[in-house]
Amino acid sequence: MTDINLKIYRYNPEEESTGKFVEYKVPYVDGMVVLDAVRYVQEKIDPTLAIRWNCKAAKCGSCSAEINNKPSLMCKTRVDSIGNNISVAPMGAYPNIKDLVTDISVNWSILRKIPKFTPMEGMEKPWRIHPGDVERSKEFKKCIECFLCQDVCHVVREHTTNYFGPRHMVKAASMDMHPLDALDRSEFLDDEGGIGFCNITKCCQDVCPEHIHITDNAIIQEKERAADLKYDPIAMLIKRRKSRKEKVVK
């Protein structure tokens, strides 16, 4: 492959009121990812370029950006998979701090609101959990908090509802599916988390770098349980308790 034409969104709020794309030429190296190209610019052309990255291994969820308009991890997107005309912009759902860096701190306040893991009472320690029972929660625990799903979600982007967003549905589901957790967060997600605003477009699960089935396995399940609970709370409670008991090996 020849040189890469890399367009990076530059914005310095101390000096300008709007940002613009600036084009750079970057030499292609075999197996290169977009983060390599962006760092080339930072190291060789302009050290003041603001980017976020840490692990360079798709494990920390720092390097989220919109690459050719698609929310992606810079460290996981291979240049040879998208061709040599590349544009990189910051996530649009969050306020821009500088260049590719956005302010994602709103997520911390949402995470504080979601009730934390609350173990069932009276269990003998050390806990026993059947190996099969950890699987369901495990899918959601793969989340690296890149917030790309939040970025792509039109409900979150519009900022007009109280919807927490897909990442936070995954968080709640990870605890609701924990075999020893005593709570059911579905009603909370319905009342406070605005889960009803999600209209199941599944765009979020399409961009998830961890391939979590956000809509199918987290959101729809939580929605259904919330509906069940509202319709017949007692029956639902019994159903849940029972299925739990069977799962826990003593």
Binding site: M32, C55, K59, K138, K141
Partner: protein, 571 residues
């Protein structure tokens, strides 16, 4: 010029939000004191997130014979007898509690068929001991602790880059930092300060470490006057990726070998049978790393300069279930399907055994009011760290440093902000913002190349001296580095500041490596290939008027009754 800065007052300041920093912060908060936690990266992104294989704790779930004394013996033997015995004892005894505590906090470990926490084999652990969550144990730990931090309402400032620990009357009393997103300077006034900044793998070119692991904590502690030790002990992990170039150094977890992966050279020979007939692929990291290195050096390497790691015999289902992250990593970065093809691997810089010298029980450094925990602290691992012991280390000693800092803070007096010291630090930071400064990344490139080329997996005085020449030259030129732009989210500026710390770490590593004229654990000298009884010692490092000074001290002897837990040392 009068500089403006914000003042934040607290009882205990924790620098770092990896496993050690978060666990320390929880301990302080739970003791009822005020705590502020700061980190260079975003909350939840600390380097700990990368840990893969698991956390070592002698639960005996899989091998019932296991107990703390066996774990203790393993630490001492693999640390080649220069570990701090007390730390080894504490770690071996308390790791199980920290694992169960994680469970209480909501972590979900893989299970045995009868529902207990599953434990896997790892290099040089006598028994199967590593509690794990597939190959994403670090992620589970970070997210679990993050949840606790958020729900406890622990105050944190992320993307806050600390540049200096402030000392008054011989006591640490605060720190100065830049809030990256706003460019505001902050002064944190505290009764005690905990450094939990992780390692310094980034002083090498080829490393498994993340961006933030530039040894900042070593620089902070050294400049403040605290003693460092064992800096020559740098762990090379046997298996880093070699291809494509962008991911060179990226880790392939030891769990691949723990789950049955074997090493082969380009002739198809399983050479570990030659180097270590008993433990084979699961011998200590230094042994396997040097074997890999030797095979490559002697011309039995692969196309891209590695050796092969082969797990295909386990079948696709097993591999995808047990090593999902590794499967994805190779598929997506290298286009290699590890269920069908061999991986190409070579040693990569992974871990610093050395660091800030601390009191075993409290994490107190040699400087009053300054504590340290996690990879930045030293003592537990001696000359070589066992896989899985770092995650145990950060939780066990993170908690203890938190409690130590609490006890100290309760007795300490308020010191007030030292305006002069703060202003002169701000002036130092600003001095890097200039028009014709030299690019810090070029300097970092020269430094990391020098370290990888001359302070590598096998060492000689001649090579080490070459590194010293380069380090000295970079120190001379350091004043000339600089960058355009402002204080706000300026990576160039961070690069300038990190470089200062990297130079301290690199010099300490290299000079200590020159001094230790023997081969022990991770430190292998071609010109002194044998272990030497006279080197049953630790090298301590501190700052003096004359520059970096070194002090060789004998290893603290363990009590007689503990000696039976480890094999006697042989020469």
């Amino acid at each position: 010029m009068e500089e403006s800065f914000k003042v934040v007052k607290t009882d205990v300041l924790v620098i770092g939000a990896g496993g050690a920093g978060m666990r320390a912060s929880i301990a302080v908060k739970d003791a009822g004191l005020d705590v502020v936690m700061v980190s260079k990266s975003l909350l939840g992104k600390a380097h700990t997130v990368m840990a893969e294989g698991g956390i070592a704790a002698a639960l005996g779930n899989v091998d019932p014979q296991d107990n703390w004394t066996v774990h203790y013996g393993d630490i001492i033997e693999e640390g080649v007898y220069i570990s701090n015995w007390k730390m080894a004892e504490i770690c071996a005894k308390e790791a199980p509690d920290r694992v169960f505590e994680l469970e209480d906090y909501g972590a979900l470990f893989d299970r045995t068929p009868d529902g207990r926490i599953l434990q896997r084999a790892f290099g040089a652990h006598t028994y199967r001991r590593l509690c794990h969550v597939g190959d994403r144990t670090g992620l589970e730990i970070i997210k679990t602790l993050e949840d606790q931090v958020l729900h406890r309402d622990i105050k944190f400032f992320d993307e806050m880059y600390i540049t200096k620990v402030v000392v008054k009357d011989g006591k640490a009393c605060g720190a100065i930092g830049i809030k990256m997103n706003t460019g505001e300077f902050h002064y944190f006034e505290a009764k005690s300060v905990i450094i939990a900044t992780g390692g310094c793998g980034r002083v090498y070119k080829v490393t498994s470490n993340s961006w933030e692991s530039t040894g900042d904590g070593l620089g902070l502690a050294y400049e403040a006057g605290a003693v460092l030790k064992d800096m020559e002990m740098i762990q090379f992990h046997p298996t880093g990726m070699v291809y494509p170039p962008g991911v060179k150094g990226l880790l392939i977890t030891e769990a691949v070998r723990g789950e049955g992966g074997i090493l082969l050279n380009s002739k198809g020979e399983r050479y570990m049978l030659r180097y270590s007939p008993q433990k084979k692929e699961l011998d200590a990291r230094d042994v396997v790393a040097r074997a890999n290195y030797k095979e490559i050096q002697e011309g039995r390497g692969t196309e891209h300069g590695g050796v092969y790691l082969d797990i295909t015999s386990k079948g696709a289902d097993y591999i995808k279930h047990k090593l999902p992250a590794m499967y994805m990593q190779f598929m997506e970065f290298a286009g290699v399907d590890i269920t069908k093809e061999k991986m190409e691997v070579a040693p990569t810089v992974h871990y610093q055994m050395g660091g800030i010298r601390v009191d075993a029980e409290t994490g107190h450094s040699s400087l009053e009011g300054l504590f340290a925990a996690g990879e930045v602290a030293s003592g537990l691992h001696g000359a070589n760290r066992l896989g899985g012991n770092s995650l145990a280390d950060i939780l066990v000693f993170g908690r203890r440093a938190g409690e130590g800092a609490v006890a100290y803070a309760k007795k300490a007096n308020e010191t007030g902000a030292d305006k002069k010291a703060i202003e002169s630090e701000i002036a130092r930071i600003r001095s890097f913002l200039k028009k014709d400064g030299k690019n810090p990344y070029e300097f970092i490139d020269r430094l990391t190349s020098a370290m990888s080329d001359h302070v590598g997996i096998v060492r000689t005085r001649e090579e080490l001296e070459k590194a010293i020449t380069i380090i000295e030259q970079l120190k001379q030129e350091y004043r000339e580095v600089g960058t355009l732009g402002s204080v706000r989210y300026n990576h160039g500026l961070l690069g300038c500041l990190e470089l200062g710390n990297m130079l301290i770490a690199a010099e300490a590593i290299t000079r200590a490596a020159i001094m230790r004229e023997e081969s022990r654990g991770a430190h292998a000298r071609i010109d002194f290939p044998k272990k030497d009884k006279n080197w049953l010692k630790n090298i301590e490092i501190s700052k003096s008027d004359k520059g970096m000074t070194f002090n060789v001290v004998p290893v603290q002897e363990m009590p007689a009754e503990y000696k039976k837990y480890a094999k006697p040392e042989e020469y």
